[in-house]
Symmetry: none
Subunit: 200 residues, 4 copies
DNA sequence: TATGAATGAGATTTCATTCAT
DNA sequence: TATGAATGAAATCTCATTCAT
């Protein structure tokens, strides 16, 4: 168990980092082998092809992201400050630059027609959309299906957009400001919604 | 002079399309030459290197995007329906998938450390941020600098996030719904802001 | 002792089949190990090198072919229908496609300069040539050394040629027709020969 | 025209020779490039892959063989010595060892499932079968369809078998002896056939 | 302006072989 | 007796770039 699949894991880790830094295409297998300190032969012993390696990284990556979401999102609800909740969600998905960069590459792979990868993105979006809709209901009391759907789409878009922005210019985003403003806006929308409901 | 830089333009156009489809690294000069119907030699007559070609595409691309913004955004203001204005802005930046895809690739180049490209993105963001701030003031009457800054960041993020989402799953985004909900939220925020102001 | 060299035999069998299918060079040791269900390490436990494995297959192969000839050819002579005898000989050497294919590969190895293999082929030819000469004498009564030598060469050539043809297009060869026609021709030649002899 | 596709032809020629000597699989592109005195890059400029190169050699090879047959076989008929005719046919297809060796490799490729190549072999056999049948009719007067078909198959087999034998042990085949013996046998068969016909 | 041929550096991939356990 | 991991040499292939014409 000590060094069982030691190298396999080391390869995955090194490849993940290098590919996040330089892009999948620009990361050569020689780079990876050098980083791990093994021969190219060993690399091919563990992964039959570069594609295989990328696919395994991909699988890990999506598992990671879903795990993060599953582990942390439910905790937000215990906290009853809406702005805080939003901020924590945003932070959750933007604070690991390596993961975000890799995500971006994989997203492009998906866009280029890799159906397998594209499917994973769609699954993830679906999962998040659901979680967000539940949160909106619980935390802000938004129940109108149009509002709920539009807000869900907006929140997902904001998460992705902020992640991109942070990649381009780290430190340029003030999550505090955005979260509190957005929280206020949603709160206002929710109260407007309940007024409409009560005045019917 | 009439068809002087005929081939030059054809090369740029073909390269733009191919690079949007497959990514910059995965698009070989042979691919481009084949698409245009010229020899690789001719390609090198017009562009001293692949980097040069990419840089020219890049320059065109950013010029295009700013031109689009400059040409269309002012018109929105004549229209006094906030939801409509937001919807037109979103559409402006998401309805050409090829441009969005290329943008995504260039963004990655920038993230990977191509400072030249990164700079272009930052310039663009700065320009948009300003335009959006002005619009928010004019259309919604948001003047609080915190709200204005946060809303600017959010709008930029939403534009990018929606563009990504549309790339992953074309047709999955209901711009109508999002625009009107967002318009309502901003309106509510603006009116809350003016209340606060008047009650001081 | 019971399953002592179980694996050794399995390896030989699998290698024989794969090499007959794909050729020696194109059959990798990984292919063979996979087919047998053992590790490459085990393969090297039983055979010091790929060449060793090939040599053992080779030895078995030639032993097999000579055994077939030894076991069956004498029986033909009990049968006194010449066409039947020829047909049985042809069938003997063409009805196992795997063996024929392997033979072809080994023959190429020999042609490429593997003297060891080439020698084996020459030995075999020498053996058959002798058996055939005896048969011609016994069954058809051909005694003229020129006829006997020429017929021997022809019969060997026909056997090889038919084997090739069957490999290219299985089922395309009518051994019945060929055997009876050839038998008639040899019979005619023998009687012409005896006429000549008696008229001297 | 002087050095138009000079290198392309040089590559084909060198590859043909090397592959005939060492086999297709054992001939590396580096070997070929070295033999021609060009870089591996140039090789790939002219042939997109090793398979392409092999396929082009193949096309040339079969064209060559059919050309030889077309050019020479008709001439045999002017000569009215049957033994001479047979000898010339045998010589035609056995005197270029390089071609025979290459043929053998291609045949194996075909046997391994390369349908394209297999098809070429079948076409060639069909063509030869027809030419041989015509010759048998014209030269020997064989008309019985069973004899004609069997003799055709035998002649094809003898050609292939002799070619193999010559590869294994050059100089070991006495074409003179074989041709005259075979000519006599066919003549005897033809006269027996005509007797049967006239006695019906 | 345009081209086809050539190149070299480097990427991916294959595979027989070694070895510690 | 068997294995999985590792290796290195060599093979196939890609591609931006150069250059003579």
């Amino acid at each position: 168990m000590s060094h069982d699949n030691n190298n396999r894991e080391k390869i995955l880790a090194a490849a993940r980092i290098l590919m996040a830094e330089k892009g999948i295409k620009k990361t050569s297998l020689a780079d990876i082998a050098r980083a791990v300190g093994i021969s190219k032969g060993t690399l091919f012993y563990h992964f039959a092809s570069k594609d295989d390696l990328v696919n395994d990284i991909l699988a890990d990556h999506f598992t990671n992201l879903v795990d993060i979401a599953k582990a942390h999102l439910p905790q937000h609800l215990k906290n009853n400050n809406p702005a805080q909740i939003l901020k924590m969600i945003f932070e959750q998905f933007t604070n690991d630059l390596d993961i975000t960069r890799l995500d971006l590459y994989l997203l492009q792979e998906g866009i280029q027609g890799n159906e397998n990868i594209n499917q994973k993105f769609l699954e993830r979006k679906r999962y998040w959309r659901k979680v967000i809709a539940d949160d909106l209901e619980t935390v802000f009391g938004i129940t109108d299906p149009v509002y709920s759907s539009a807000l869900g789409a907006m929140l997902l878009a904001i998460i992705d957009g902020l992640a991109l922005q942070i990649l381009v210019e780290p430190g340029s985003v003030n999550l505090e400001e955005i979260s509190s403003t957005l929280a206020e806006m949603i709160t206002l929308l929710a109260s407007a919604e309940s007024h409409q409901r009560s005045s019917r």
